[in-house]
Amino acid sequence: MVLTIAKRLAAGVGLLFVVATLIFIALHLVPGDPARTILTGTGAVPTDAAVENLREQLGLNLPLGQQYLRYLHELVTGSLGTSLNDNRPVIELIGERLPRTLQLIGSTTVVSVIVGVTIGALAARRGGLIDRIVMVLTSFAVAVPAYVAAVLLVYFVGVKLQWLPSGGYVDPAVDVGRHLRALVLPTISLSLGFSGIVARMTRSAVLNVGNQDWVRTALSVGLTRGQVFRRHVLRNSLSPVVTVTSLQMGGLLGGTVIIERVFSWPGLSGLLIDGVTSRNYPVVQGIVILIAALFILLNIVVDIVYGLLDPRGRSK
């Protein structure tokens, strides 16, 4: 097991190196000069000399190979470079923003798994009308893109009914209540599709497991249907649910971008969007590498959880 994890980690590091190189090449291939962009505000008119001066300051006029080596060095030492427009270490900027994005992903995952597993299991167990209602509702939830749900929630719940803030962020250290209120709508927006997928996966897995011979055996030895369902069927159905949950969580690492924007949630997305539009190379590189690293890590964690859920996986 330890050896397997070590192998996976080593492969992950190799993959990260590839991602880091690709993002460096991609960013530097795209035209657009960070120095000129930084110096151009509303009606600002930087002289060419000023632009050249800033390029030199930022090290942008070095040969590309040299910039790449410098970048790899920063990567290995973990600093991820310095943001071009405010001279702050990228790692520090990400440190401020990442917890907020992770919080959004966390709350979305918790809500989606609880809601999804509950209604999926319910649909599979009860069947009939409940099953059909769940199928229709989840199809709908999966079909509606998160940003459409977000815009509708902002308009009806935020602007018209004014039950919850339409966006914004309040530091939990300042006011926990307002912080959590601001978290509700983005979480619901992201959870709709996620919980729909989890529900459908749970339903089909439960139906699949429920039809197996050992279930009949369990019932014949005197266990009640409820006991068999809770202790055996549901647990044996969880592997595909874990898979789909992890995939969805991975998707959320990039998928929160629009939702964070719509709700002015100051997570990684604002930093990433501003980074791209101002050609703030170190910030974009740092965030992309971080997302790749988290994705790889998530996959390793999922492999471990498989092992815990299913003893057959452990021997591999």
Binding site: P31, T42, V45, V110, L164, R235, P266
Partner: protein
């Protein structure tokens, strides 16, 4: 026995999941009951800012959000009032000799937010920083002409210019004309310490700036509001929703398609002005067909300006049919403001006269990053097709657009800008090489340069007006730039906020000055 397939780690994790879920459910319950937390008598204005300013550098031009922040944190020697008049600020007295030697006498006992005294030495250091080309200061176009700065005492500063400059004060009244503590100049830290009505409290990257009333502000009894929380709401519709839902009291730049909704809301005010404008600029170097003034005139006659307003600005603006001088300016010339109207026949004639009876193909540069830039280009493309000019569109994102523009890799380009001041001397940004990407590529006309220099130096108002009229006539005929549309900019705010207002014309971005007069309640 029964639990052998459920390792304890997983069980623990499941329990934790349930616990977190419960906490979240509880918080959702708390949503309904947690209304306003206990309020004291502190007055707070929440303001939706249109972008983040990760590293406030007051002397530089960092866009509209930085201008709002500068206007509350800082003050210069002079400033704009709500109507756009230049009024003394940190300087109690301002006088000049022939617009070439300016004397500023500070109020007594001025201090910065950190408690240090504000003296003529700080004035000198700030002006010198603005005059240093390496700093790319927004005030550089005016400050570069400074030849000497004398400080005979702690309150007095005498500034001598290389030539008379009638526009000097109108530049210095901008929020970037702020006086900074001399020791902070040249530092890389954000310039939060100033002498403005509010002092910096906190900044959370991507989230908010908080400022609170500066008790030693030089104007008695101002400001009235104790604290301003600037929420960073970069997304246009998120910002509008925040205003409409009452999450914030005021916002910069209501989205054009939400004007009706804000106006219709009985709790809100839509405070609108036409300031920034959209225009076309040409590559005037000899390898472009637009180096011929006749072709440029043809374009000026071919474009349907109302169509630009309707398609690119959602109808929120006005056609710009002549010189980009706002109506609120003393230099507004009605005839020159309405010089061109659409006339396709005349446009075709001009094109034939220029040697292109069957038109030609050219490249047009705009940017897909801003809808109104993109849609302006598309509108103009359709008009020029009617006279035989086929435009191939190049619409990259903003940084790429700037780079291509600076390199002159285009024939015709769409741009939008705003004058630094209402004074017509801002036209050097549009008509001379000093204007960089605001100006037509390769355009360097001695007649224009001479008129701009004379206009700037003229001290007599009538003489100045005559020079700028002459410039206007020449530029309209020569058409290195072609005006398209004035763009509406509106602040939206709750009716309980009074005293805050949109300074008209180009000065709309300086409107944060009026927050010092604002009250809430």
């Amino acid at each position: 026995m029964r639990r052998e397939h459920a390792p304890s780690a997983l069980r623990g994790a499941l329990h934790r999941v349930v616990a977190v879920g419960l906490a979240l459910a509880l918080s959702a319950g708390a949503v309904a009951c947690s209304a306003n937390t206990g309020e004291d008598s502190t007055t707070v204005l929440t303001y939706g800012l249109d972008s983040d300013v990760p590293n406030l550098q007051t002397l530089k031009n960092q866009g509209s959000a930085s201008m709002i922040l500068n206007s509350v944190l800082h003050r210069g020697l002079v400033q704009y009032d709500a109507d756009g008049n230049i009024v003394p600020a940190l300087a109690a007295e301002v006088s000049d000799v022939d617009k070439q030697e300016y004397t500023f006498v500070l109020h007594e006992g001025l201090t910065f937010h950190d408690g240090s005294a504000l003296t003529s030495e700080d004035v000198k250091a700030s002006l010198e920083a603005m005059a240093d080309a390496d700093n790319v200061a927004k005030m550089y176009p005016a400050a570069k002409n400074i030849v000497s700065i004398d400080t005979p005492d702690d309150l007095t500063t005498i500034v001598k210019l290389s030539a008379p400059d009638a526009a000097f004060l109108s530049y210095m009244a901008d929020v970037s004309g702020a006086i900074l503590p001399s020791e902070s100049i040249g530092q890389e830290d954000p310039t939060y310490v100033g002498a403005g009505p509010y002092k910096f409290v906190s900044y959370e990257n991507g989230s908010e700036f908080v400022v609170e009333k500066f008790d030693d502000y030089y104007e008695e009894d101002k400001p009235s509001i104790d604290r301003i929380e600037f929420k960073i709401l970069s997304d246009q519709s998120a910002r509008d929703s925040a205003l409409l839902s009452g999450s914030v009291d005021a916002v910069s730049f209501v989205g054009w398609n939400n004007y009706d909704q804000v106006s219709a809301n009985s709790n809100l005010v839509l405070d609108e002005t036409e300031g920034p404008f959209m225009y076309l600029l040409f590559n005037t170097t000899s390898d472009s067909p637009f180096s011929n003034p006749l072709v440029r005139q043809a374009v000026a006659y071919a474009v349907d300006r109302q169509a630009v307003v309707d398609s690119a600005l959602a109808g929120r603006g006005e056609p710009l049919s002549g010189m980009p001088i706002p109506e609120s300016s003393e230099y507004y010339n009605e005839e020159q403001a309405n010089y061109y109207t659409q006339d396709l026949d005349k446009a075709k004639e001009l094109l034939a006269e220029a040697g292109y009876p069957n038109g030609f193909t050219a490249t047009m540069l705009s940017s897909s990053q801003y809808d109104f830039h993109q849609n302006t280009a598309i509108s103009v493309q359709a008009d020029l097709k009617k006279i035989g000019i086929e435009l191939e569109m190049v619409m990259p994102d903003w940084p790429t657009r700037l780079e291509i523009g600076a390199a002159g890799d285009y024939d015709i380009a769409v741009y939008g800008t705003v004058g630094i001041t209402n004074d017509p001397s801002f036209l050097d940004q549009l008509l001379t090489p000093a204007g960089s990407q605001n100006a037509p590529f390769g355009y360097d006309d001695p007649t224009v340069n001479d008129l701009l220099t004379r206009g700037r130096a003229a001290t007599d108002e009538t003489e100045r007006k005559a020079i700028y009229d002459e410039l206007g006539a020449y530029v309209l005929e020569n058409a290195p730039i072609v005006g398209l549309a004035w763009r509406s900019q509106a602040y939206g705010y709750d009716k309980k906020v009074s005293g805050f207002s949109n300074i008209p014309g180009f000065l709309t971005f300086d409107s944060g000055y009026t927050l010092a007069d604002a009250t809430i309640g």
